[in-house]
Structure formats: C-alpha cells, structure tokens
C-alpha cells in the first residue's frame, strides 16, 4: 500500500516540468498579491475564492499532466464536436448577460462553451494535421480553416470579441506551424486588409465604439474612454518603482474599472511600477519560451503543434491584455493570465499548462 502511494507520488512528480511549474507559481503568487490589493477593501472573500480557484486549477493541471498526449488526441474530435454543439445551443437557447449571449444554462450550472473551444480548437486541429501527417496539402489547410471558422463565427455572433480572438489565434497557430505556405498567408493578409471595411460594417456598435475610443480615448472621457484613461493614469502615475503595495490611489479610490479582473494589470502597474511590469513581462516571456522549447522537442506532430499553439496563445493572452490596459490595443475583454481574478479562465489556462507538461514529460515514452 505504502509503496503504491510512493510510486504514485513519484509518477506525479515525474510528470511535472519544473521550469513551467516555477514560472506559473510565481505568476499566481503575483496574482494573489494583486487581487488582495484590488479587493481587500471589500473583505477577503475574493482572495479566498481565488485561492480555491488556484487550488482547483492546479489539481486539474496535475491530472492533465499525467495524461499522455496519445490519450488527449483521442479526446480531440469528440470535445470539438461537443463544443460546437454547445455553441450552436448557445446561439439557440443561450442566456443573455450584459447584452451578450455567451452562457448556456444546464439547470444547476451555467457554462460558457466558448471557453471549451480555447482548448478544443488547438486539440482538434493538431489532431487533424497529425492524422494526415505525411500528405498535408492545400486541401487540408482549407478544411482546417473551415474547422477554425465554424466556432469562431458562432462566438463572434454572441458577441464575444475577446474569446473569438483567442480561439482564432489558437487555431491559426496550429495551421501556421503545420506549414501554411507564406504565399498564402501574405495573400490572405492582403485580402483581409481589403475586407476590413466589410468587417467594420459587420461589427456591433459597441465594438466599433471600443475601436474608435482606442484611437482617441479622450473623445469619450466619461463613457467608453473612461476605462482606458483611468488605467493609463494608474500605470503612468506608478512611475519606475510604483507607489508601493496597497498604496495605489487609483486602485484604492476606485478609479480603475474592473480592477480585479480585466484591468488588474493597472493595479499591479500602479503599485509596482515599471519594475513590476518588467518582472511580469520577463515571467511571461520565460513561459512562452519554455513552451516553445517543449514544442521544439516534442516527438510527434500532434504534440508539437499543440504545444506551440498553447504557448503562443498564452503570449497572445498576456499581450492583448496588457496592450489594452496600457492603451495600445482595443478593450476586448481578455483577462491577464494567472493574475486576473476568476476561475474559468484560470482552469483553461492550467489545462494548457498541464498539456505542455504532459507533452514534455511523455516524450521519452514515445521514443521508447
């Protein structure tokens, strides 16, 4: 009995990637400190919740890390199908919250199927390319594009710009690493540029406003521009070394909107300054770099594509969030990975990290 536990424990540790683990724990630590600062004025319940969220996400990560990539591959198609079905369900019977139809009520619990797609999409596409490994041609890229655009169309329709961006990025990176020819990419970019006016026409009013106020936030200082103005003030007033933990005036006097979720970076930035931002950027860069190293060392096409996609989606996550809070990207509702308060996104992220660990720690088994 005891030896079995010991064995189980050794197995557990064997499937952890130490660099990834350290980076993620450091990020979550920064997250807890910042969530504390952003929420302590209204009690400690948010902090407690976030610790539970982190514990749950961590356990899920451990479980995923134990699961061999071959097993994950088997789930790829079914999860994608389920995710797609649920998205269609959302379009049909979804619950409207804040003007967006994103949630599906299953009676006892409400789920957000677009969140599933963040993992299901790279899984599905990586599996698809892996299945057709030695004979990938343009037809496969075309089909992959369809696989990508179906759910994205549904998510855009909800509307949820942030999630469609992340799901789109996840899928695109798989296609990119599968060898999409540069010519086609350039051609598509050119076509996309030409299609921009049409896309503009398809955007919802609030999405257009977000883009317009990005260009000039002061044009609507009390409305849509308010968020960006206040978060920029928070960042700028933080200075090189910050105002110190719990000393951010923009934070503690409530000037920062969504300060514990999407705009938490402004809190961190105000209190820890350029120094804190530099450390955060370095940690994210290490995370992405480690992910890409794992991808480069991965033995199968499936695991390579999956690992590379997940790594770059983590990057996109961080970049888009910090970009929007500091006023160089539109406000699209993407949380800051591992830092922002909230369980759902964290679980998805940790599943991603778990997959990276799984890919890395199972590579020898495949070679054998």
């Amino acid at each position: 009995m005891r030896s079995r536990i010991r064995h189980w424990r050794t197995e557990m540790v064997a499937h952890l990637d130490m660099p990834l683990l350290v980076i993620v724990l450091l990020l979550m630590g920064m997250g807890l400190i910042t969530v504390y600062s952003a929420t302590s004025s209204s009690g400690l319940s948010r902090l407690d919740n976030q610790m539970v969220n982190m514990a749950v996400a961590f356990v899920i990560m451990l479980a995923v890390a134990q699961t061999a990539p071959q097993k994950l591959m088997r789930f790829a198609f079914p999860i994608y199908l389920i995710g797609l079905a649920l998205l269609i369900g959302v379009a049909g019977f979804g619950v409207v919250v804040n003007g967006s139809r994103r949630w599906l009520s299953l009676g006892f619990i409400r789920i957000q199927p677009s969140e599933i797609m963040k993992i299901a999409m790279p899984l599905m596409l990586a599996w698809y390319f892996h299945k057709n490994e030695s004979l990938i041609n343009l037809k496969h890229f075309a089909i992959a594009t369809v696989i990508l655009l179906l759910p994205i169309g549904l998510i855009l329709k909800q509307p949820d710009l942030g999630t469609s961006l992340l799901v789109g990025a996840a899928g695109f990176f798989v296609i990119f690493f599968a060898g999409l020819p540069w010519k086609i990419m350039l051609g598509l970019t050119a076509a996309g540029g030409a299609a921009l006016p049409f896309v503009w026409n398809m955007l919802h009013d609030y999405q257009r406003r977000r883009i317009l106020t990005l260009i000039d936030p002061t044009s609507d200082p009390l409305g849509a521009g308010y968020h960006i103005i206040q978060s920029t003030i928070a960042i700028g007033s933080g200075g090189p070394f910050g105002k110190g933990w719990l000393n951010g005036t923009q934070t503690h006097l409530d000037f920062i909107p969504e300060k514990h979720t999407d705009f938490i970076f402004a809190v961190l930035s105000e209190e820890w300054g350029l120094l804190g931002n530099g450390i955060l950027l370095a940690l994210f860069l290490c995370l992405v770099g480690r992910g890409l190293m794992i991808a480069a060392a991965a033995p199968t096409l499936f695991s390579r594509l999956l690992a590379a996609s997940i790594s770059l989606v983590l990057f996109i996550y961080a970049f888009v969030n910090m970009g929007m809070v500091s006023g160089i990207l539109p406000v699209v509702g993407v949380p800051l990975p591992f830092i922002s308060y909230g369980g759902t996104a964290l679980v998805t992220l940790m599943i991603g990290v778990g997959i990276l660990m799984s890919i890395h720690t199972h590579r020898m088994l495949v070679k054998k």
Binding site: S134, F173, F176, I233, G236, T249, Q250, F255
Partner: protein
Amino acid sequence: MNDFQHSQQEISRFRRRALLAGFGALALFSLLFARFFYLQVVLHEYYSTRAESNRISLVPIVPNRGNITDRNGVVLARNYSAFTLEITPSKTNGLEATINALAEIIDIQPKDRRRFKKQLEESKSFESIPIRVRLTDEEVARFAARRYQFPGVEINARLFRQYPEGALAAHAIGYISRINKDDEAWIAQKSDEDKLAHTTNYKGTEHIGKIGVERFYEFELHGGAGYEQLEVDKVGRAVRVLTQTLSTPGKNLTLTLDSNLQRMAEAAFGERRGSMVALDPNDGSVLALVSNPAFDPNLFVDGIRFDDWEDLNHNPDKPMLNRAINSAYAPGSTFKPLMALAALTQGKRDTHYTIADPGYFNFGGRRFMDDKVGGHGSVDMLKSIIVSCNTYYYNLANDLGIDAIARFMAQLGLGSRTGIDIPGESVGVLPSPEWKARYFTKREQQKWFPGETISVGIGQGYNNYTPLQMAHALANILNYGRVFPPHLVSHITDPGTGEIKRVATEPVRQIPLKTEHVDFIKQAMAGVNKQGTGARAFAGAPYESGGKTGTAQVIGQRNTAHLKNVRLRDNSWFIAFAPVDKPQIVVAVLVENGGFGAASAAPIARQVFDYYLLGKASTSPAPEGIASADEGNTEDEEEGGHDHALTD
C-alpha cells in the same frame, strides 16, 4: 526514407517557425515595455498630476464676512451663528426617504424642500446642504436624540448675516443675498482689478453684497477663502483630510453714519416719501442717508420670499428705490444761491446790483411769472435769495447764458456722480445745449431755445439733481471750493492684524471760488433762516444756520390720474447748513409731493440740526405733513417756480 526525409523537413520548418514566433513574441513584449517606459518614466510626472487631481478635492472654507458698524460702534450688520440641519446626499440611504423621515421630527416646509433641491442641483454630492436653517433649541435636541437613524444628516453651526437695526439706513448699508449669474460675471470682471475678487475665492461663498456698502466694499468684507484638501474616491466621497489652509476673515467697516441721527431723520419723515442726505462738509463724511420708505434687509439674506418680493416691487412708494442717490428732482429755488454764486464768480453781477421786480419777466414774447403778484419791488442779490425772487433769476439766467450756467454748475459737481461709495448713483440732468443734442433723438427737439435758459435760472426746466448732488454742491461751496467726495465708510479694519485703513479724506479738486463770494452766499442763506422762507422752521434755534427752500413742479407724473391728488403735488426741497461761521453739517432734504419746502422739508432739517449740534431732540414744532402743505397755497409763500409757459 521518403517519409523520414519529409518528417525531418517538417521538423526543421517547424523549428524555424517556432524560433520566428519566439522572436515575434520578444519583439511585441519589447513594444509593450517601451509603452510602459513611455507612460511610467517619460510621462510619469504628467500622470502623477492626473492621479493627484483625481483623488484630491479642494473644498473651500468660507471666510467670516466683516461686520459693519456706525461711527459710534453701533452694529449695523453682523454674523450670527445658528444651527442648520444639513444633509450630505452621498452619505444617506436614499435622499427622499431621509427628508421624509426628518420631516416627522423637524418642521420642514415645502419651501425648505424647494430651496434644498435648488442647491442640490448646484453642488457636488459630498457637500453638505442645509435642509433647514435656524433650528430651535428644541429641534436640535429632538434631532440629537435620534441622529443614529439618519446617516449623512448632521447639525452644523453656520454663520448668517443679520441687520440688527432692521430697515435703519437700509439703502446705505444694502444687503447680501444669494450669488446669481450677474454677480458671477461681476466677480469675474473684477478679478482683473482686485486679487481678492478672484472667482476661486468665491467657490464656497453663497452670498454676496447686492447694493449699498455691502456691495461697494464686497471684496473687503468678504475676506480670503481657505481650503481643505480632501482625498476623495471615484464617487466623490471624502476619505480623509490631507491639508487645511485657514481662511482670512473679511474686514470690518466703520461707517461715518450716525445711527441715532439716521433714526431720528427717518422718524422725521414718518410716512412721507422722500430723502435726506447729511454730510460733514469738512471731509465729505455722510452723517445720514435717508430714503423713505425703506425695506428690511434681513428679508433678503436667505433668499427673499416670493410674497415679500412682490410687495416690495409693486409698492407704488418704491421702497427699493434709493432716492438719495438714484432719483433726480428739479431743484426749484434751492438752485438760486448756486446761480447767485455763478454770477458773482463770473463777474456778471455784484452784490449791489438791483432790479425793479414788476412780478414778471418778459422774454421772447412770453411772460415768466413771479410768485408774488405785483412783484417784490426793488431786489438786490441778498434780497433775491431771502425772498426767493424769480424775476431776479430770470434776468440773471438770461445775462449769464446757458453755457456759462452749465459750466459753473458742472464745477460744483452737478450733472456728474459725486463718487459716493455705494453703487447706483444717478448723474441727474445738468441742462445745456450739448446735453439736449445728446439726449433727444429728434432733430427738432435737439435745438436749445433761449426761453429754456430762463426756466433753468430758477431751478426748473430740465434741471434734475439727486439730493446727494445738492448736498454735495452746497458742501463744496461752504468749503470754498475744496471738493471732498462723499463717503459712507470712515475706515476699514483688518480683524486679524488690527490694521486700519482710512477712506481718503483729502480734497480731490479745487473749484475756483472767491472767499468773499462764498461768505456772501453763506450770509444770504443765513438770512433765509432768520427772516426768509426758513425763518419759521428755525425760529428759536440756539445756533446760526443757513438754508434755502425749494418747491419744484412734478412734471413727469401728469398722467397718473388715479394718484392725482397727492402725487402731482410739488416736491418740497430744503438745503441747509449750520453753524454759519464754521459749518459742521450740510443737509439736502427732499419730500416728494411735500408741497412748499418751507412747510414740509425745512422742519426735518431743523430736527436734524438740533440733534446733531445740540445732542437732543428738536425743540421746534412737529414737522408739518402733507395736510398742512395744502394750506401753503393761501399763505404768503414766496416760493415755487410755477412757470406754466414752460410746462404747457
């Protein structure tokens, strides 16, 4: 083999792309870092300021307004502390519910709610706004017992303006009331001239002087606002006080006014409409400034009630009109000593020049009448003033000509503002061909007719002066031409430093007058009070005084038919001074529709002189009212310029 090769190719392409992606991520993160550097290092100072102004709110501390006292220290305007019930809207649990609950324990009228609502719209939600002012002790106690039920409601002691003497000298003191748009514009305009007046200095101030001394010395009385730096959150709730700068209290004004004299003079007017200005000729001090009827300035302090405002505005007696400085009247015969002095000064007459008065003066085919049928006989200058002979002045005016008259009267100060330290002074009308050309728009009306000069000679025609102008002109004569601008404020005291600033008492200009001419006019006016039209009013006075009565037609009011009996009566004037050898007091008294000056206005001057010079109430018979003035027609009253040729 082929498969393997393919696989190798695929892997190396993958690694190339992964490396590319890695560098791409690095590049984009560098971009972010550059952005952070720009915001946090390059623009750090700018954003720090923005963050500070976000969190810091400056709440002004309103200074205490200065007090106003009379020359003897009697308080005419002060502040008193009273309890107010105040609500800070952002701290309550529902504003409407709070007010309704408060109304159950404290008397809150609909007008209180209206005023609260109005102020609420003008202020920020973290400022406390009074819902009730001047709570009784009982109400304070009732609220104190239940204050825990009312978050955001508190009792504060605030300062209120009070005029303890009520309507006394109301037109001179003025009043304060809520600041309106016009006042704001005025403050902004004055900001360029006076540092204290800066608009920011008035941020927390609710009241401002509207008229009188309260207005003229507004920026002295107001003081300098202090500031409290509060840290506020997004919704403006005060989190804590950061710094505090105390306010500098406003300066105290000491008036030249003698409130006892003022009270006595107002009482002498009784119900009659009119005005009196008493000056100290030696320095231009205003000893009393009466405009009757007056109003109670206390009504305005909290925002005047609608009914009160209607009463004041629609009262036919116009209590809000400051008759002393803003209402001009034809001077009638009080103009004659001035005309005589003009003739002497310009060498057109010597004192011995004598005319034979047939009772009329023929000019340009018209006959200008004297009051006394058959005339006064042989009249020299002294007699012309004592008996108020019209014919003498018809003749004199004709010899002087309108230009010379206008030039001399302008030197005396007529037709221009005296410079008294309350706003709203009227310039009156000093008639001249230039004035007529300026005043009338129709060409046929712009021409000056020689006949008009004749009427001007006896203080009729277009002549129109305020009582203040007449008193000022007389004071200038008695001073042998030294001109002191009349002033109500004697000195301004800084309550903090004790520093005293005197209002200038130096003459501002010199009118070229000859001593012997002035002395002659003084003697002639003394003669009026001894044996002329002022003799009855000054009978038995233990001091020597000089005066001149006047009775002036009311021209403008012919059409007010329903008021005919009273309001068309002549205005009654009396200008006087005492003692003759060394004058200490000059008065100009005007009683609207008072009839003959000797009967109506002169007795008021007598009472004032008795009081001022002897320090006691008058020994003369009670001033005769309008009823007795009617009898004047039958008496041998050598008065009035009934020049029907002119007014037809």
